[in-house]
Subunit: 277 residues, 2 copies
């Protein structure tokens, strides 16, 4: 089944970190002027701001707040560290509620040298510990499996299957998954695990970018859609065939693009969104 073309920008969401040089105020104005209709706000963009006011300004500009990024990082070597992580996630829920964000992106965390199975248990316990507050705040939690190259220090959840298993275990309508093509494109089980997500009604978000060859930096050398080896339209088709009809979020960390004039970069984002997504 061919994927539906993206004929307008009504489903285009940009992450504030994608246009890192812009403050939240600059991003609000520029996204609105460019017709970008969604934003995922990274928490650093809220520092020193009246969070409710940021939310109102975005909505007044016609921009929907798709999610707050990011919570997670639950594992720690000792109980005090794990408690601090839970407290930070409770603060993220306060921020999401104040902002009016319906979803928090969870980068689950890992501790170098701690067995991955132990980190996975701590992640499950950490999410469980904030679920009541998430329910009160009416904010959902999206588990984003991260590429295995981040298993040392960023996430012990590295495949969509693991994210699905974790959701099954937590068994809450507040907990679902985020499919980011950069992290999952290589997975031989990708299509079947997206289907499993869809059947459980838990595809909470879809993140797009591309994998460049060669990738020169493990963090900050992502490409725009069409610049690399990922078949983004195919993966978008799979999430949409399985019930997802939300925003396509452009999340690009790129030293190259951050060095560019950001208005010009935003135009390139729109081109890539129209032609290669």
């Amino acid at each position: 089944m061919p994927v539906r073309p993206l004929t307008d920008f009504s489903r285009l969401c940009v992450h504030t970190i994608t246009t890192k040089p812009w403050s939240i105020e600059e991003a609000t104005d520029a996204y609105a002027a460019a017709g970008v209709r969604g934003v995922t706000v990274w928490r650093q963009w809220l520092e020193g701001r009246d969070i409710g006011k940021v939310g109102r300004s975005l909505r007044a500009a016609g921009i929907e707040i798709v999610s707050l990024c990011r919570g997670g990082f639950f594992p720690a070597p000792d109980a005090a560290g794990r408690r601090r992580a839970i407290d930070d996630n409770l603060r993220a829920l306060d921020e999401a509620q104040a902002l009016g964000a319906p979803l928090i992106v969870l980068v689950c965390g890992a501790v170098p040298g701690q067995p991955l199975a132990e980190s996975r248990r701590q992640i499950s316990d950490g999410i469980a510990a904030v679920l009541d507050r998430a329910g009160e705040a009416n904010v959902r939690l999206g588990i984003e499996p991260l590429h295995p190259m981040y298993a040392d220090s960023r996430s012990a959840v590295n495949t969509l299957r693991q994210a699905n298993d974790l959701c099954d275990q937590l068994d809450s309508p507040l907990v679902g998954v985020i499919v980011d093509v950069y992290h999952v494109w290589w997975d031989p089980d990708l299509e079947s695990e997206i289907r499993r997500c869809g059947q459980a009604g838990r595809i909470f978000a879809f993140h797009a970018c591309d994998w460049r060859t060669p990738t020169e930096d493990m963090l900050n050398d992502r490409g725009l859609m069409g610049e690399g080896c990922i078949d983004v339209p195919q993966i978008r088709g799979w999430v949409e065939q399985n019930g997802f009809d939300g925003f396509v979020e452009v999340e690009v960390f790129s030293n190259r693009y951050w060095a560019m004039e950001q208005g010009e970069f935003l135009q390139k984002i729109k081109d890539a969104y129209s032609k290669h997504t």
Copy 2:
């Protein structure tokens, strides 16, 4: 079950690329003097040499040739490219036979942008096309799954499960797998897939190094065992509990270590082998 300690160097194998500044002649002398009993020879080290003589010199120095590295890279966008890849693998088999290497390491290959499923078919076809010659040469082929961060351009086989599936499909005693901790340490199915390898009698080799945090280069920043987050003794225990009793091959690509005086580095390898493997 605790892993058996490595009380001597009788199972220590070093890859020639680990001590990249040394020629094969220098490596032969230095490994023999240090009591290293096994070597995996990378093909570049044979260029311009009488291959049979290299093999005889190694054996005369008391060094066993564990494998020749590397064959593979079967996928290509066109039939001519795939034919060239098969020809190159036939040459590798000639070289292994001349050297007296009983095993070739296969880095299976990938083409950026070509669907991974298509690359996987081409890998299977490519291996099948050289099996008769492998039988004549009495050389086995070891499929080494590569870390998913190399799925764009180096290998479309990225998990031990995929390697096992490929072996099942090819169904030849000449085809097995190589377990390299760097590539597979993150995999939640690692222990069960090692068991599956063992039951099929196909653990052909075991490669060791470590994953540093942060990893500063996607290719050439591997650590020695003990320097990173991989529980190497646990994985060695799993392969040994499943019937493997061959060499522990130290395969480290490291700009830092290549810049060091290589005799000093070889001593560090022996220390890491004794204490953290």
